[in-house]
């Protein structure tokens, strides 16, 4: 399949990436080249084949419900680009 310019823009929006004009064209070319390559998987008949999420069987170990607060406030907010009164501050969430 071929990815269109509009699809590139749509994917970029979903992924929250602002692309320059040249990037749009570049990614369109790269994605089409890569998808052209991965299309070889279509050669394989995978009817009835179970998909693998984990190749290694894992017995899920669950956590007991015991609470503790390990991180200090400094550790929690120390890397924040912007903060205010213990909150992370961001540009306004609701656009109206």
């Amino acid at each position: 399949m071929e990815i269109s310019r509009e699809q590139v823009l749509h994917i970029a929006r979903l992924a929250r990436l602002r692309l320059g004009e040249d990037e749009v064209a570049g990614f369109q070319k790269d994605l089409n080249s890569i998808l052209g390559y991965v299309d070889k998987l279509r050669e394989l008949d995978t009817t009835g084949v179970e998909p693998t999420t984990h190749a290694v069987p894992i017995d899920g170990v669950l956590r007991e419900d015991v609470a503790d607060q390990r991180l200090s406030p400094d550790a929690i907010l120390g890397n924040a680009p912007q903060k205010q009164e213990g909150y992370f501050r961001v540009p306004k969430v609701v656009e109206d």
């Binding site: 970029a12 991965v38 998909p51 170990v61 890397n79 656009e95």
Partner: protein, 480 residues
């Protein structure tokens, strides 16, 4: 011989004999790092005062006869995608240029519990995405074997640090070959453990179902020693497996007498084309293994040619989601003066991520999106099953599989970076191992005509690292 030039095992012997101290080892490593800055192997070197203080404590404890961990006083480097409390952890990205991790990765805790001295954080492809170390925000790493060539990636900094003696050993992480391929290109030993063998807690995720942390060392025995220190179940990683950790070192000298080693024919006729020098070296090694008593068996892994495609669909899908957290809200880079939330997100991520990251996020986002999930992502997961089954069948006939690590020796900077697909094919021999969750190791295996090292890869059934150590140990002795 300077202490930084020794293997870990040799250094430990000197500590035990009283011929060396941890302080002296740290001093030698720090001067080597200073002299080796041209390799750009480290992003962050820990404060000398802190390192010496820790070394002195260990030296005092040793003198007083206090019990010491298996790695007491050994200077170790870790790839800068593992969190270390209070230390900058960048993942080679502008996005985390100033991120100070507020917690320790499990491997960091285990290294420190074993007495290791973590000297610094090594350079890597941005978020471990790359095969040449050219995508790091902090500039490329140079291959100590030939500074015109790439060191391999993404654990290129760790490989270079080991190869140039800027540490005694290092940790890398391997998602599609990121430990084994740079080991091959720098003439060092690199091991990717079975998925679940080593905790991923604190490892900055690239592709969660493929990532594993592994040792990068100067000898096979060192790899066994380091793996013993970091392996084992971790209740903070739900995908870490609760299994006993064998005494891996005891397998290194055991030899391969009676073992059956499989040679997958597809790996020797693959589409990327194996370099003739690599092929000759690998065939030479196989012959030595046969001479050492192994039986060589021709095997088939029929889905090999689909591995790269499968890998790039699964890895990018997981990565697109794993990298969504870098949004400028709680930590990391944030674009200045964005007026709206959407602008803040889009500019932060456009400015904070490099091109290769964006390319993979784009691909991964696409293959998970409505209408394409089944055709791409789910299909890849199904082919993953087929690839896994290839190995299951093979391992019913053989104990281990022997292959080249990379199709060629290290290439020159810029040689493959223009074409993403060419770069992806660099991982053709290493990728299946991650898809199937197997352990794999790369050991040095001669050089090409230009004198650059080439590598030999061995793969074993899940949790059979011990088998790898037997074969790799034999290779090391036979090829010495």
């Amino acid at each position: 011989m300077k202490l930084n030039e020794l293997t870990m095992t040799q250094l430990k012997a000197k500590f035990d004999d009283g011929q060396a101290t941890a302080s002296a080892a740290v001093a030698d490593v720090l001067s080597a790092i200073e002299a080796g800055q041209k390799y750009n192997a480290y992003i962050t070197v820990c404060e000398a005062d802190t390192l010496f203080a820790r070394a002195e404590r260990i030296d005092k404890a040793r003198i007083s006869g206090a019990p010491l961990g298996a790695l007491a006083g050994v200077p170790i480097a870790i790839k800068d995608n593992m969190c270390m409390k209070g230390v900058r952890t960048t993942a080679g990205s502008r996005m985390l240029e100033n991120f100070i991790a507020p917690y320790d990765a499990t491997v960091v805790e285990r290294l420190e519990a074993a007495g290791a001295i973590i000297v610094g954080k090594t350079n890597l492809d941005e978020f471990a995405m790359g095969s040449s170390n050219e995508t790091s925000f902090f500039g490329p790493v140079k291959n100590p074997r030939d500074s015109e060539t790439i060191p391999g990636g993404s654990s290129g900094g760790s490989a270079a640090a080991v190869a140039a003696n800027l540490c005694s050993a290092a940790l890398g992480s391997d998602t599609g070959g990121s430990v084994r391929q740079p080991a091959s290109h720098t003439g060092t030993v690199g091991l990717k453990p079975t998925y679940g063998r080593v905790s991923r807690f604190g490892l900055i995720a690239f592709a969660s179902s493929l990532d594993q942390i592994g040792p990068m060392t100067k000898s096979v025995e060192d790899a066994a020693l380091l793996l013993e220190a970091i392996a084992g179940h971790d209740p903070r990683d739900a995908t870490s497996v609760d299994r006993a950790v064998p005494a891996f070192q005891s397998f290194v000298a055991m030899g391969v007498e009676g073992m059956r080693l499989g040679i997958p024919r597809e790996y020797f006729e693959a589409e990327a084309g194996v370099d003739p020098d690599v092929l000759a070296n690998v065939r030479g090694a196989i012959q030595k293994l046969e001479e050492a008593g192994a039986t060589i068996v021709d095997i088939s892994l029929p889905h090999t040619e689909y591995a790269v495609a499968t890998y790039y669909l699964i890895a990018t899908a997981e990565a697109s989601s794993n990298l969504a957290r870098y949004d400028g809200v709680r930590y990391g880079y944030r674009a200045d003066e964005a007026k709206t939330l959407l602008e803040m997100y889009e500019r932060t991520r456009a400015e904070g991520f490099g091109d290769e990251i964006k390319r993979r996020i784009m691909l991964g986002t696409f293959v998970l999106s409505t209408g394409y999930y089944d055709a791409y992502y789910r299909k890849a997961q199904q082919v993953r099953t087929l690839i896994s089954q290839d190995f299951d069948r093979a391992f019913s006939k053989v104990d281990a599989i022997v292959t080249p690590t990379a199709p060629s020796a290290a290439f020159r900077f810029g040689q493959k970076s223009a074409d993403p697909l060419q770069m992806y094919l660099e991982d053709i021999y290493t990728i299946s191992c991650n898809l199937a969750g197997l352990p794999g190791i790369s050991v040095p295996c001669g050089t090409n005509k230009a004198g650059l090292p080439t590598g030999l890869q061995m793969l074993a059934p899940r949790f059979e690292e011990a088998t790898l150590f037997r074969v790799a140990g034999q290779c090391e002795r036979s090829l010495a």
